[in-house]
């Protein structure tokens, strides 16, 4: 739909980075209109996880008697901001921006071994972010370490007059102290997040992380978020409804793709939208419009908003009971191969993969994925920390402590570079060192 469209203005977050001297290296791939959890449904094709080519992964594959250099079984990055995650993970840039509506930044961060930050809703301007769900979207930040994420957040956070949903209160600074004593910290473990679909390996890592906090003196308590089981359907209703509304502007008239039909305005709209949107997007638009029909509005949309309030209140209650930060998995498992991922449709996958992440968007809270360790396959596994609204700085402080504790390994791509015929020896030497 937006093929060939070059926006005539910069998003506030982009402009703020440029104003601070950032160099824009490029634009990255994603699921179309940020709908998806694999970064496999973009018009430019699917995104490949750099870890597919890492020494760590390949060695494990060899060990389990798979052909180490097979290229066809590459892994997904997760999504929908997979392109940005791949770019940071492969050391092509210092940081990348994504978006996060149901987990689109944290999910690929987990699968690519990155810090993926979803700031509090209203902390960072959405002006220039093509909206998916206006009441849940935030710009996401992807970096290789927590301090980098804090630097970027420090540049981006703050009121924007162009975005009426940004906070008017002063924010920051986001300089992170080094946490030495976690004994005053209370970590909450939501019991409803222990779902059957969670891989046992992930479960083990989650436990290990909880134990880590406890062993260093933090208080670790089990908490309850009772309405968790309703969050997927609630999210589905609200998300599709807003999508149907936000996509209404894509008619080919003012910008973007326009079809050749000119029999009538209506025919032109219909053909343009059929051609310009993929199945996923069209499916969501149809669902959303259904929920917004007058006869359905109260039963679906209003009901979902009420459930949303209940979900948000679950978090408030937990934080009011003395918990500082919640610790949960980010994804069900480590990255899966593309060929396996596409066996299920986009909607099914999204529903499955968003389970740990999307309640956070509904509640507008800040959350961050911190890479923890490598799985038995040699692939990144991350955990999610969730804080109360506008406590982004505290959240990142805890994240930084955790990062320091776990010492997540650097991706080893040197072999790939060495073996790659397209780079000259000179270029290989000139590549950024892969050591932190």
């Amino acid at each position: 739909m937006l093929k060939g469209y070059i926006p005539p203005y910069n998003a506030t977050v982009v402009q703020k980075l440029l104003d601070q001297g950032a160099v824009l290296l490029g634009k990255t791939n994603l699921d179309e209109f940020a709908m998806g959890s694999g970064s496999t449904d973009g018009i430019f094709g699917p995104v490949r996880n750099p870890w597919s080519y890492s020494k760590q992964y390949r060695e494990k594959r060899k060990q389990s008697h798979h052909r180490a250099d097979e290229d066809s079984n590459w892994l997904i990055t997760g999504g929908s901001s997979g392109g940005s995650a791949a770019a940071v993970s492969a050391f092509t840039c210092f940081a990348a921006l994504g978006s996060d509506t149901g987990g689109s930044t944290r999910n690929p961060a987990a699968l690519c071994g990155l810090v993926g930050l979803k700031p509090t809703y209203g902390l960072v301007s959405r002006y220039g972010l093509i909206p998916l769900v206006n009441s849940m979207d935030v710009p996401g930040i992807l970096t290789r370490c927590v301090d980098d994420a804090a630097i970027v957040l420090g540049v981006l956070a703050g009121h924007d007059p162009k975005d009426s949903t940004t906070t008017q209160d002063p924010v920051g600074p986001f300089i992170l102290p080094i946490l030495r004593d976690v004994s005053k910290l209370c970590i909450g473990i939501p019991k409803e997040y222990n779902v059957p679909e969670l891989s046992s390996e992930m479960q083990a890592f989650w436990s290990k992380a909880a134990d880590l906090f406890a062993s260093k003196g933090a208080k670790v308590v089990e908490v309850s978020l009772p309405h968790t089981s309703y969050s997927i359907v609630c999210y589905h209703v609200l998300c599709t409804a807003e999508v149907a509304s936000n996509m209404a502007r894509f008619d080919g008239l003012e910008y973007g793709h326009r079809c050749n039909v000119n029999v009538s305005t209506e025919a032109m709209y219909a053909a343009t939208r059929r051609e310009g949107f993929n199945d996923v997007v069209r499916g969501r638009i149809l669902s959303g419009n259904f929920f917004l029909l007058r006869e359905n509005y109260d039963d679906y949309f209003v009901k979902a908003q009420k459930v949303r309030r209940l979900i948000a209140n679950d978090f408030v209650k937990v934080f009011n009971s003395g918990v500082d930060v919640l610790l949960t998995p980010t994804t069900l498992s480590d990255a899966v191969p593309y060929l396996e991922f596409i066996k299920e449709d986009n909607r099914t996958r999204s529903a499955q993969d968003d389970i740990f992440t999307q309640s956070v968007n509904m509640a507008g809270l800040p959350a961050v994925n911190v890479p923890m360790a490598l799985s038995s396959q040699g692939l990144p596994v991350g955990l999610q920390l969730i804080g109360r609204a506008f406590s982004d700085q505290q959240l990142l402080t805890v994240a930084k402590w955790f990062e320091e504790q776990v010492q997540f390994p650097v991706i080893q791509l040197q072999e790939l570079v060495d073996n790659c015929p397209t780079f000259s020896q000179h270029e290989k030497l000139g590549l950024v060192s892969l050591k932190r």
Binding site: P7, I130, P131, N134, S164, T165, A241, M247, Y255, Y297
Partner: protein
């Protein structure tokens, strides 16, 4: 597009808010359904013997564009007669990623309107999206206030006129159901020869558009099915359309037909309403809260937070204190101050700039207000209307008119001469009344002897008429006056001529 719009609507007694095709919204009944029969503009239909009386119920949905420098949600300017698509911001063109930002001045205007119409101003109001696809609506939805508008439950008292007479005692009150802020659309121009439609996203046509909802019923019975007549943009057509529609519905029902709940358009040439039946049937606008605009919170003196930045808040009480004098108060004051008739005060206020013109003239003239009003409302306004000019475009300045009226008042010139001078002033803007009078020799002939001489001469020339008068035919005197006047070149006061002639005819 996205020019601000205020919508006033009057409440219906038992209609629910319905979703309608394009820009319509419903509503409203007069609290006292007027007995309506025999409209002045349509042929009166005499009810069949034994048939009940009919009562009509009319509700108006009024779209008025707010006078502001920029649009309701975007920073683009609002200027009239700008080239097409020259006042379109990224937001107006619905570029992805753009967001609405509420215009403070528009909020203040809405509050002012609400206060002027005795509404309750809602301290919290909400914005919604109303979805439909149309080429002049780039985002595919319009931002409006459907759930909780900015002001509700107001009233407007007005006087009824029958023909040219205004009867101050026949005052009525109409309910204002609500006032809501709403985004304007663009403008479509249909080019039938090339089978295309051209879109201008500056703003929609017309400063004022009205949709009229009409139904009829027998008093005591439930309200009838209503129709909606859309996009009327003059008071005259509004009245005609309503009258026609009432009549049409009465006839239809009396002939055993049914009224369909539909949208109609008014054909100005034929003077009738025509059905605009939509092929797809009823529209569902899929209303949804506008997620990019937080609830609009207004404050008053009591609720205003102590540390509030005055730039960031709208204070209802502050606005109330600064409301200009309302028209009904002004009219009352004018009647009292100048002794003019109430109907005059209406005209003065309803014509832009006319009141100021009148008041300036009054300051500079000795003439009686009643005389001044006559000149302003009949002659001056007549000239303007004939040439389709606004008061601001008048070639005649109030000072000139004042001077002219002074000269008339001190009997330097006669009334006919004054009218001539007026015409001259209109054509030649550089001259003063005094100059024109001197040039054209329009001064009244004051000299009694001279006048008597002329009269005598005329009488001498017209012996038959003299005989007729002496025989008792008084009408002939007027003829003689006319002749004398012509003889003086219009420079003699008819009253004086009459005096002299009568004396001479004795």
């Amino acid at each position: 597009m996205a020019a601000p719009i205020l919508r006033c609507a009057r409440p219906g007694r038992c209609w629910s808010l319905d979703y309608r095709p394009r820009r319509s919204r419903a509503l409203f009944a007069e609290p006292v359904p007027g007995r309506v029969r025999g409209q002045s503009s349509a042929a009166a239909q005499e009810p069949r013997p034994g048939a009940h009386e009919w009562a009509a119920v009319v509700g108006l949905e009024i779209h008025a564009q707010i006078s502001s420098n920029s649009k309701l949600f975007s920073g683009s300017q609002v200027t009239f007669l700008a080239p097409p698509n020259s006042l379109v911001s990224f937001f107006d063109a619905s570029l992805p990623g753009t967001l609405p930002v509420l215009n403070r001045r528009c909020v203040e205007a809405a509050v002012m309107t609400g206060l002027a119409l005795n509404c309750t101003v809602n301290k919290k109001s909400l914005f919604d999206r109303k979805h439909y696809f149309y080429a002049d609506l780039p985002a595919g939805y319009q931002i409006t206030q459907q759930r909780l508008p900015i002001a509700v439950n107001g009233s407007l008292t007005y006087s009824l006129g029958v023909g040219a007479q205004w009867s101050p005692s026949a005052t009525k009150t109409v309910r204002i159901k609500q006032i809501q802020l709403e985004q304007d659309s663009g403008k479509s121009l249909h080019d039938d020869t090339r089978s295309q439609t051209l879109i201008d996203l500056n703003r929609a046509e017309g400063q004022l558009r009205v949709d009229a909802n009409v139904s009829v019923h027998h008093p005591g019975e439930p309200l009838g099915v209503r129709t909606e007549v859309k996009n009327l943009n003059s008071i005259r057509f509004l009245a005609k359309a309503i009258d026609y529609e009432i009549q049409r519905q009465i006839e239809e029902l009396q002939n055993g037909g049914k009224i369909l709940n539909e949208t109609r358009a008014f054909d100005e040439k034929l003077g009738c309403t025509v059905s605009m039946r939509d092929k797809e049937g009823k529209q569902d606008y899929r209303f949804m809260p506008e997620p990019n605009l937080p609830p609009l919170i207004l404050y008053d003196a009591e609720s205003l937070p102590v540390a509030a930045d005055p730039q960031q808040v709208v204070n209802i009480d502050w606005i109330r204190e600064r409301l200009p004098e309302l028209p009904s108060v002004t009219r009352g004051r004018l009647v009292e101050q100048y002794g003019i008739l109430p109907e005059h005060s209406f005209v003065l206020l309803n014509e832009d700039g006319l009141l100021e013109f009148f008041q300036t003239v009054m300051k500079e003239t000795r003439a009686e207000p009643k005389k001044v009003i006559g000149w302003i409302l009949t002659i001056f306004l007549g000239y303007l209307k004939q040439r389709n000019l606004a008061v601001s475009e008048s070639p005649l300045s109030p000072s000139s008119l004042a001077e002219l009226l002074n000269l008339l008042d001190s009997k330097v010139i006669s009334l006919p001469a004054a009218k001539q001078v007026f015409e001259e002033l209109w054509q030649n803007q550089g001259k003063t009344p005094g100059q024109i009078i001197r040039e054209k020799k329009l001064e009244l002939l004051q000299n009694q002897e001279e006048l008597e001489e002329i009269c005598q001469a005329v009488l001498a020339k017209h012996p038959q008429q003299v005989m007729a008068v002496k025989n008792g035919n008084q009408k002939v005197v007027n003829k003689l006056i006319g002749i004398v006047r012509r003889a003086t070149g219009g420079r003699a006061d008819p009253g004086r001529i009459k005096q002299i002639l009568e004396k001479q005819l004795q």
